[in-house]
Amino acid sequence: MNTAATAPSSTDWNAMDNESFRAMVRAFFEAEYPSELRYPKRRLRWAEIKDWYLKLSQKGWLAPSWPTQYGGMGLSPEKLIIFIEEQERWGVGRAPDMGITMVGPLLIQYGTEEQRAYYLPKILAGEHIWCQGYSEPNSGSDLASLRTEAVLDGDDFIVNGQKIWTTLAQDATHIFLLVRTDKSAKKQEGISFLLADMQTPGIRVRPIRNIAGGEDFCEVFLENVRVPRTNIVGELNKGWTIAKALLGFERIFLGSPKQSQYALARVQEAAERLGLFDDAGFVDRYTKLALDVADLGALYGRFIEQVKRGETLGPDVSMLKIFATETYSRLADLLVDIMGANGGTPGSIELPGGPVDALTSFYNARPATIYGGSNEIQRNILASNVLKLPT
């Protein structure tokens, strides 16, 4: 075990047996991840997670899915899932990982040699932090209707428009943008994929405060922003295809049961402290949700098996996101409900045995059913792409 834990970053992790690999990863997380940041209730900011990010960087574990030739761990799907499972199990907070999960794979697949040589090392070093510029005020569910425009002017694009719901843009040094480069083309065509430095004049970021008091999302205003033509990724006007290809198997994690399991544990904890396990009315409601969480785990496991076998996930994975987020939402409702007269009190509430937070999961449950493709969009996908219902 100890030898594995100190294995050099060039190790062929996939050669390890699964249990040793899991033990190694687990040992590292348990030893090194800051305990005060376990199971964070909200997205962590760069200042909070930076040390951990750099620690992973130094260890060479920042990009588990990237090929080793680009500085990644080169994990097989099976090993990658173990890696992620252990992160979830230990409650490791999500770093600003757009560079790792989106920009890296994008450049490896579609970038030029120069783009790869310039950007990838800086991502791995923690020097470049990326955010995603997709959504716009008038294109939420209907992303392809985006209007931010990039017009060629010599060797530069001049970009004008506005992005919104950009996660942690205030912490990012770079942004990858979907922009319209051909207004005459049909909706999905005429869209390009563009990289930009957030320091470029004309880019302005405004954090959006949410009702829980957090600032996870931002507006990004783009006014006559000059972006070098060489910052385009892939072909001109083919950005939509690229963006869709990027929807890799990561989207399975939108349907991970972890969030619900965690919420269930919070409900159980609160219920123990309130003595509710003697209340058949509560136990009935609790058990129903406990089984929803367990059964979600079974469904999730089926998709994970698929990934491990190296198969491509189909549109049916949308099931997971719907059931996971709606189960989470029902658990959040139950927690508010059992808190009774304290159900309208935010933050920690002292109960005999320890504190309980009644509202954080309620607040978190709201965007969960909206982002990453709203559950309405997910149901549309199931109806048309899985059930083949007519349009």
Binding site: S139, I211, G213, I338, G340, G343, G344, F362, T369, I370
Partner: protein, 388 residues
């Protein structure tokens, strides 16, 4: 009542509604509600004076104490109009819960004086009766707070929770267990031994825990005792449930109206999203919940304003409407956010103000589940008595 009186009353109500709505939208824009959030005491005493000027602080108060002796039905119009603007003033806690409790508790000189001051808008009393963290173990019939009679008067020892308003209240009607059973005692906010711990609520307002450490007040501060105290507290509590439901209904109406407006105007995939049938059907379900709440509320107001209603019928009705309004309030809030999408959870969009107030009001004095259990116990006893 004859038909003429009915229609006259309807007209008066409609005038009151219009004047309350117009006052609230003019004098209490949402910017005001926003500005007062997380600023102790969470509301504006100056605005309270304006409410008094309108005569609304005395709406429910008997004429002998300078009030207008109107019914809960009238009060519901005012409370609803202010809730529609998320006005943070503790209209229902002070004017209904404390006000009615003073009126029911007895005709002593102190109670009369307090009522007169309440009607004038110069006094803000609050009721301090709950002691349990979730309210599940609270009963209107008894308290853990202890009352002792001493040579110098009354002495109180205990810990109260969920008191609205806490900060900003001029005094508290405290329930306590004495030798004669439950007692209701008036304790000024500045009494020695009383300390307040303000707890922020989801909507930016505050509730308080009230610590009573050997608080001493004169014997005349005893407002009621024994069965009379229980009856007064129960009745005021029930009336407050109904009026809180009126506030919740106002929130529901606004959230639903905002959502409909959004569904009509927001365009995605080349069409207003309100044209998508799945969303239409969900909107229809929200309409049903809104109208159920409105219907039950109307029934509850009529029943509680009727002099012949029995205490049990009153309590069952009050729990019934609070259960419906609390659950419908949360359902409409959740669905309103979902139908709005991401903008629905931003602080700058007004929907959040309503959602957060709905969270506070649905929890206060017992949420849907808790009220249904009270209803079940009340009606079960009723059925068993009938069978016996």
């Amino acid at each position: 009542m004859s038909t003429t009186t009915d229609s006259e009353r309807a007209e008066q109500l409609s005038l009151l509604r219009e004047s309350a709505l117009s006052f609230a939208s003019k004098e209490s824009p949402l910017t005001r509600a926003r500005a007062l959030r997380q600023q102790l005491p969470g509301f504006d005493r100056g605005f309270w004076a304006a409410l008094a000027e309108q005569g609304w602080t005395g709406l429910l108060v008997p004429e002998a104490q300078g009030g207008y002796a109107q019914g809960l039905t009238e009060m519901a119009e005012v409370a609803g109009a202010l809730a529609a603007q998320v006005a943070p003033e503790p209209v229902v806690p002070v004017l209904v819960f404390a006000g009615r409790l003073l009126a029911h508790a007895g005709q002593g000189a102190l109670a009369n004086q307090l009522l007169a001051d309440l009607a004038a808008g110069t006094l803000l009393p609050a009721v301090a009766w709950q002691e349990d963290l979730t309210g599940a173990k609270d009963h209107l019939e008894h308290a853990s707070t202890r009352l002792e009679r001493t040579a110098h008067g009354l002495q109180l020892q205990g810990h109260k929770r969920h008191v609205r308003p806490g900060a900003g209240a001029d005094g508290f009607i405290v329930s306590a267990q004495g030798a004669e059973g439950l007692a209701l005692v008036w304790v000024p906010a500045d009494a020695a031994g009383l300390s307040l711990h303000s707890r922020p609520l989801a909507d930016g307002s505050y509730a308080a825990e009230v610590e009573l450490a050997d608080v001493r007040v004169p014997a005349q501060n005893l407002l009621a005792e024994g069965p009379a105290a229980v009856a007064a507290l129960t009745r005021a509590y029930d009336e407050t449930l109904v009026l809180t439901s009126a506030e919740l209904l106002a929130l529901i109406r606004r959230m639903f109206a905002m959502t409909l407006e959004y569904l009509r105007s927001r365009v995605q995939f080349g069409k207003p999203i309100g044209s998508f049938q799945a969303l239409q059907h969900r909107a229809a379900d929200l309409l049903i919940q809104q109208e159920l709440t409105a219907s039950v509320l109307a029934q509850a107001l009529a029943l509680l304003d009727h002099p012949d209603t029995s205490a049990t019928a009153r309590s069952a009705m009050a729990s019934r409407v609070k259960a419906r309004a609390s659950d419908a309030g949360l359902q409409v809030a959740r669905e309103a956010v979902q139908l709005h999408g991401a903008i629905g959870v931003t602080d700058e969009y007004d929907l959040g103000l309503y959602l957060q107030r709905a969270l506070v009001l649905s929890a206060w004095l017992g949420n849907g589940t808790q009220q249904r259990r009270r209803y079940a116990a009340l009606t079960r006893n009723l059925t068993e008595q009938e069978h016996a």
